[in-house]
Symmetry: C2
Subunit: 277 residues, 2 copies
């Protein structure tokens, strides 16, 4: 693991790191904020999965999470959204290919060669975080935005004992039935829709996956609310499954980092409460 | 004035605007954050002047000021650092020309044609802010970073009755005697160093300019501390003049927005206290 930058912020260290990923067969860059802490102690970890077009840098620059992480003693990890670089397949569209990995392990050519973001965020990067940072992997939470909200929900639903807390900002809750998701899941996984179900939060819940509770914020001025996000489908799935979903429709907020940065500190505090030792 | 974007953030509105500037003879872009407020009321204004290479966007994206501005009911205005565009002179160096206006009214060719950033931030933009936003211009404070800290200090020292509060992050306090300043002031104003004095905070204080108090934060890991910033010169000037300078050398912090975003909320609160009705 190579350190690309480290800067003191809110008394902790905001770092950006790169490593050669076996999962994707590429170098991968990610950011980690580690609050000031007593040497030798280990801190809970909050994963933040980013949305379409983003790298680790968007939330690192614009997320306004460090003050809250410092206050609550929570590490925040922000992975990239796909493999990148020469030799990695890409697509001209913003919602497919590089920057749009959808947190799946692709099975279709040409994507299957590198697009293994499920293995990367579920297995490889957690092992690296556990080894290289003062992280207590028994206390993990996960959140994310849009495509990354989809990532957070599906990773947590597939690994219910790993995460004590799960939240999301404007998540894609049912990719199998919305344009972004149909395009991505069809492209990466092929046309057999049964293979999409492990990557669809509502389908996972319908198929029996459970987490005890969810916190989801969505802005009512979000341009993608009705076509791509459809939080009412998550509401229905959680109600049917008995999952305690707190779904907050935030008046006036859009899909941007202005929305995320308004509420991310609150999410950090919410996770921190559930990640206490 | 044209609205380029408006996004709700922390219950207020973060806007980015463009207008045709008479001072610079170019279009100028700036950002304004207006907290939620009772219709018809006017809010105090905090000016934030940015550093070398920056536009309005750096602090708007990375400054982490909106929560504090919302809490204290303070408008934050972030101008650009120079005129820009085709037909505007430029220089290949990062510290001269576009992105490096140094908040002076240039007198030397070719800069005198457009580089009137003093007139822009002192006169033209304040008039626009007063006309277009719910700003109480009787309650103004000013701050800035690096070159913009120089701007904040010198604008305030030249206009002591206009600003109730002045602070700075890692300011260039004596441009006449440091490399960045000698290059810029010589280039924009010519070799007669007497003409530089209105643009040098320490020289202004030596020449009799006064503000009641100053708050200055500088990181002790700032790579520019000893060669370009030299806060000890401001300490000496303020001590000699009886100006109440709070100079905080912040251990571990560098020159980046990670430093600014750590302390900007505290500066907003400090200004807000002095800007109360």
């Amino acid at each position: 693991m190579e350190t690309l930058s480290q800067n003191q912020a809110h008394n902790g260290v905001q770092g950006v790191y790169r490593h050669a990923s076996l999962a994707t067969g590429t170098d991968m860059t990610f950011s980690v904020y580690v609050p000031e802490h007593v040497r030798g102690t280990r801190l809970p970890v909050l994963w933040y999965l980013s949305g379409l077009t983003c790298t680790h840098a968007n939330v690192t620059d614009k997320g306004e999470y460090r003050r809250a992480c410092a206050e609550h003693g929570v590490i925040l990890v922000a992975p990239d959204t796909s493999p990148r670089g020469e030799g990695v397949p890409d697509d001209e569209a913003y919602d497919f290919g590089q920057g749009a990995g959808f947190y799946v392990d692709a099975t279709q050519a040409p994507w299957a060669s590198h697009f293994h973001m499920r293995a990367y965020v579920e297995d490889e990067l957690p092992a690296l975080i556990a080894a290289e940072f003062p992280a207590d992997m028994a206390r993990q939470g996960i959140t994310g935005h849009s495509m990354g909200g989809h990532g957070a929900l599906t990773v947590a639903l597939r690994n219910p004992t790993r995460f004590r807390s799960v939240s999301a900002f404007a998540p894609i809750v049912a990719p199998s039935v919305v344009p972004w998701g149909e395009k991505a899941l069809g492209g990466y996984l092929g046309e057999d829709r049964d293979g999409w179900r492990p990557y669809d939060a509502c389908a996972l819940i319908l198929d029996g996956a459970r987490v005890p509770e969810l916190l989801v914020d969505v802005g009512d001025a979000d341009q993608f609310l009705h076509e791509q996000l459809r939080p009412e489908l998550l509401r229905a799935a959680c109600d049917a499954a008995g999952i305690d979903l707190t779904l907050r429709i935030q008046p006036g907020y859009d899909h941007s980092y202005y929305f995320i940065s308004t509420f991310l500190a609150e999410h950090v505090a919410w996770h921190a409460q559930r990640l206490e030792a």
